[in-house]
């Protein structure tokens, strides 16, 4: 793998991603030839990888190699092969680091790389350097794409504080190095993906882990303002108020970060899934919001994405196949929907278990196994049960469409009786053609999830609970399945192929983009929306979920607005919300919202002395608000 080192780089080792020269192309071809001789990879998830940086920084590459050698002395025959592979992988990792050193023009950089090729990092700079080289080695050397810097305010803390005491570094220099790492993340990852850093939270003893690096990791995000990585905050009641305040002020600038993760909830959820007390504090959002235990887990995420809207339509098809058997009661129809989900979950689990099994038979991940506990202790590969925690996280996309759709079916078919299931199905198949008044009535007159309406929220709680329960009960193989309600960009992709749904959503439109209200259905503001999303327990949903809030910049340009935003965030978290992200938008976004109101239905703006949804304003008002937003920004 050829390297690419720029003249000013302070964190080095990125692979060559431009068009290779002829001699470089020959090197790449050689790699491809080697890959050809390996059996095809069965698929499944090996990325979103969270290595054990703590152990690596403590022992160094050399220390890990010695551990492998020493364990090899007492290994069984099968373990012997495993340790041999691990030894080869670590030797290759070390050689890669030495090669980076050789390619460095900068003497100090070359020295730092030589140090970490064998020894533990002795300085903060060496730590960040080894972190990046590890990411590159795992990502490009063993296909663990999206390996993250992770909880770097904790893993690098000791090195930073030692440097500070010894006068070897300053906060400014540390900030610069973190910025360099972030920039390199952008150099190795193309658009449309995700990479995460999580700061704050608690240490393995349960004490608040906030330190100077927590702020520096956030500040570096603010300073670089690039696509990657996102920097999120693990928030708990012991999070210092000044850190919360810092995070809110950062959000106000429109940088989009940090998202707030509910540390207490996630820690409890992990323990429910058998994670030890000490390990439960040491988790990560693996890219977006899917939770993994750092350094000791083999967890597949978003495996797979389930399309709640389509599964509901499938159930509707099944219920109306033969009018005679159409369920006479709401409970009867609900059972058909639950069965549809259960089948989908069971089929997916069967498929994924088969892939996992095939992987364990045919492949191995020796480098990953060196950096995930307890592979070395057990003498077992990452794919064969070496990791301490093994499970699969799925993700249900479009919960709100399901909930609002069930409300519409309850009302139209089973309460008023004005339509039969079959008639409603036909209306949906025609995409509400000639039924626009009905669609408007569903949208505007029926209760919907996301507005603090007790009835609608109870329906949401019932269905979220059902999906959580179905995930737990309808798995087949050896691995636990853990639910999530998160969509990444899949709400758009899945929605594009999904016909009109009972909630009034037209065919092809995006599905709900979070665990909260569907687009266009949130009418009573961010507080009502928070009440709805937190009406059901998120504790089991380690597969992740997102609650979105959007504010205009002008809403937050004063202290009252800032404090109000903080009030919304803290209330959401204290009510057991899993994750909340605030988008602060400027005039460009407002114009986009004018063009595409449905996509921006939850965008809240300050009108004048009050706030309202931007898309609820008429054209004149919208123009005024845009003019004022631009004015405020100037």
């Amino acid at each position: 793998m050829p390297l690419d080192i720029g003249p000013e780089e302070r964190i080095v080792g990125r692979p060559l991603l431009r068009l290779p020269t002829p001699s470089e192309a020959r090197q790449i071809d050689a790699v491809h030839d080697t890959n050809e001789s390996i059996p095809p990879f069965p698929g499944g998830d090996a990325g979103h990888f969270q290595p054990d940086f703590d152990k690596l920084f403590e022992l160094g590459i050399g220390g890990l190699r010695r551990e492998i050698e020493s364990r090899r002395q007492h290994a069984s025959a099968e373990q012997e092969t495993f340790y041999q592979a691990c030894g080869i992988a670590m030797a290759g990792f070390s050689r890669f680091v030495l090669r980076v050193a050789d390619d460095c023009d900068d003497i100090e950089l070359a020295r730092a790389c030589r140090q970490v090729a064998t020894e533990p990092p002795a300085t903060f700079h060496e730590g960040v350097q080894l972190m990046f080289l590890t990411i590159v080695a795992l990502w490009f050397g063993e296909d663990h794409a999206l390996t993250t810097p992770g909880r770097m305010d904790q893993t690098l803390r000791r090195l930073y504080e030692q440097d500070l005491v010894a006068g070897r570094t300053t906060p400014e220099e540390a900030l610069e190095l973190i910025c360099c790492l972030y920039i390199q993340c952008n150099n190795i990852l193309g658009p449309g993906s995700a990479l995460s850093v999580l700061v704050g939270g608690r240490d393995r003893h349960g004490n608040d882990a906030t330190c100077d690096l927590t702020y520096l990791c956030l500040a570096a995000r603010q300073a670089t303002r690039l696509v990657y990585p996102t920097v999120a905050l693990a928030w708990h009641e012991g999070t210092p108020p000044e850190l919360t305040d810092y995070a809110c002020r950062m959000l106000r600038t429109g940088v989009g970060d940090p998202a707030f993760f509910n540390d207490e909830l996630i820690v409890s959820g992990l323990r429910d899934h058998g994670v030890s007390v000490a390990d439960s504090y040491d988790y990560m959002n693996s890219t977006c919001v899917e939770i993994k235990v750092v350094g000791s887990s083999h967890i597949w995420v978003t495996a797979p994405y389930f399309n709640c809207a389509q599964l509901m339509l499938d159930a509707l098809d099944r219920a109306t196949d033969d009018e005679v058997s159409a369920p006479a009661t709401l409970e009867g129809f609900e059972q058909i929907v639950r069965d549809q989900f259960a089948t989908a979950v069971r089929d997916a689990a069967q498929r994924l278990d088969a892939i996992w099994e095939a992987r364990a038979q045919t492949g191995c991940f020796p480098l990953g196994s060196c950096l995930i506990d307890d592979c070395l202790e057990r003498g077992l590969d990452f794919d064969r049960g070496g990791a301490r925690y093994n499970w699969v996280e799925n993700s249900f996309v479009g919960l709100a469409n399901l909930v609002d759709g069930m409300i519409a079916i309850e009302h139209l078919i089973y309460d008023t009786g004005e339509l039969s299931l079959g008639e409603f199905r036909q209306i949906l198949q025609r995409d509400f053609a000639d039924a626009e008044p009905l669609r408007q009535r569903i949208l505007n007159r029926l209760p919907s999830y996301g507005n603090g309406d007790e009835g609608a929220d109870a329906t949401a709680a019932k269905w979220a609970g059902a999906l959580i329960d179905i995930t737990a009960r309808h798995t087949v193989g050896p691995h636990a399945y853990v639910p999530g309600f998160f969509c990444w960009v899949m709400h758009g992709h899945l929605g594009a192929d999904t016909g009109a749904t009972p909630d009034g959503r037209r065919a092809g439109m995006a599905l709900a983009d979070g665990a909260g209200a569907a687009q266009g259905r949130e009418r009573r503001g961010p507080t009502a929306s928070v009440l709805s999303t937190t009406r059901w327990s998120h504790r089991a949903a380690l597969g992740g979920l997102v609650h979105n809030v959007r504010f205009s910049k002008a809403l937050l340009d004063n202290d009252a607005g800032l404090q109000a935003m903080r009030g919304v965030i803290e209330t959401y978290l204290r009510r057991g919300g899993f994750e909340i992200q605030v988008n602060v938008v400027g005039a460009d976004t407002l114009r986009a919202a004018q063009a595409d109101p449905e996509a921006y239905a939850d965008l809240l703006v300050r009108v004048a002395g009050y706030s309202d949804y931007f898309v609820h304003l008429d054209a004149n008002l919208q123009a005024e608000v845009i003019a004022r937003t631009e004015h405020t920004a100037a």
């Binding site: 626009e436 007159r445 009502a528 109000a564 009030g567």
Partner: protein, 304 residues
Amino acid sequence: MTALTALIFDIKKFAIHDGPGIRTTVFFKGCPLACSWCHNPEAIKPTRELVLFEEKCIACGECFRVCPQQAHERLADGTRVYHRDRCVLCGACTEVCYAEALVMEGREVTVAELMVDLRKDIPFYQNSGGGVTLSGGEPTLQHEFALALLQQCKAEGLHTAVDTSGQTPWRVFESLLPYIDLVLYDIKHIDGSSHQQHTGSDNGRILENLQRLGDSGTPIEIRMPVIPTINDDPEEIEGTARFLAGINGITKVEVLPYHKLGASKYARLGREYQLPEAQPPDPATMESIAGILRAHGLNVHVGS
């Protein structure tokens, strides 16, 4: 016995400009003033009103069908006209207008019904130091209801604010005060004849009530809308500043620049906007007005 009701036109959650913290604001319908710049024209009439959002109409034709008064008429060219003079506000059309192009502004609520909504955001009030605000219109116009609502809020430990024009008998304020934590008080003109000209009523009682409110010990936030050429004369502001400096209990004076954001609401209500030519004041004017007030020791905040 019929339950006490009020006519309100909105309940706004996440209200963050009507007192401290995150609040829920109840907007009462009906106002004793009729300010030419009013940005909430739907607040003025103490009765229900039909509002038209033409752009939302999906031309389903239901309103023509259900109206017993033929107030909705379909013209030969397919367009529609609403005869406000024929309308008896029966609500038959708004009931079937699912696209919400026809909306009845104003609805009757009881204290118990309102409290269900107001209680929902208690977690937010607690986390942000917020509460409930009565606004309008003029909430004290429906003072029996306002009193019952404020009493209930205080009985449940909620922080209360009342946003008032001050144009109400003192005895009404007096009865409400034990249940009010903060008064948001509008001052539009210090000069009585200007006040009469632009709001339709004299300001004698407004100024007198403010004096008494101050003496009662209730914290007061003053709100001053600034409308160019109408009430931005530095001498008049100086007069206002002198008056306010003599009032107890004023914690803050907020000067609010005029904006035209309410202008489009007039057509929907079948009314004419009185200030089509007016423009918002520039930031320098706002700062100089704030400066005049600050020179009298007032804590001034320029709003937006």
